[in-house]
Symmetry: C2
Subunit: 183 residues, 2 copies
Amino acid sequence: MKNPALILIDVQKGFDLPFWGSRNNPEAETNIAKLLSVWRSRDLPIIHVKHCSVSPKSPLHPDQPGNAFKEEVQPLPGEPLFTKTVNSAFIGTGLEDYLRENKLNSLVIVGLTTDHCVSTSTRMAGNLGFEVILVSDATATFEREGHNGTKYSAAEMHDINLASLNGEFCEVLSTSKLLASME
Amino acid sequence: MKNPALILIDVQKGFDLPFWGSRNNPEAETNIAKLLSVWRSRDLPIIHVKHCSVSPKSPLHPDQPGNAFKEEVQPLPGEPLFTKTVNSAFIGTGLEDYLRENKLNSLVIVGLTTDHCVSTSTRMAGNLGFEVILVSDATATFEREGHNGTKYSAAEMHDINLASLNGEFCEVLSTSKLLASME
């Protein structure tokens, strides 16, 4: 990958609330912070994405304290930030234009949650022609219930959603494999 | 739903080839045909979407016999058809403009495959503001392998992908429940 942009999706405090149910990958934020540190040290492009829910009861609504970024990913001055109101970081934002204007064709995607905002943004990025790496242990999701009442663990949701994405929309790599490939 | 448009995604002969591995929901095409028949009998809007892969080795490439629609879903004269080259029916096509120009805000999505083109199109439809029903037994997918080599059955891929979509991007309903709600 040449000049890969690290895109951090919705790493916000509101996801720590019990509202969402049980989560997998508790180490995701540590891995995200590690990648962010590497990107900053090498002066590679970094893009922050924040979810600003239009639903007043959502922990991610701009009036809620949960809308704030987690401490691990506080943007530094000059790092671009895009806010969105839907799952995809490419809908209702200037992200695609920004990437094209800055000739950023290679993206590394991390953040929350694997199967909602991360998956949707990864799918659109791939379909829009960007080269995408999704970092398996720098994303996480929550348990979910199917339309027929079946319950699925966060780990099942995570693993199977990654299997749908890998090779079709992106390459899925662990943090350690990604960093080793950048040595 | 008011004047729901039935969107048939990639119900093409090429998906019958062993190329894709084991599939779930063998009755999907029968359910799709049933819905198509109801839509035609009530003169409700119908939209066909065909995948025209740019990869010469894909069974869905326009030069391959598998690019053809299955017999159950052959478009009738006057029924609109959109061709696409990526998973999303909304990227590189005029589908969004067509829906808005015709004031079609409610969509019923069916077709192949659950976790690739159907999921991606459903996600974008929901994020673009359309009201979406995804029909659980009028879509199907294939077994997949995760980035770490774990194999997942088609049924697992299908069920968990629907659980990620339901309530976030769409409502997931069976064919019989959908038809009952339209009585």
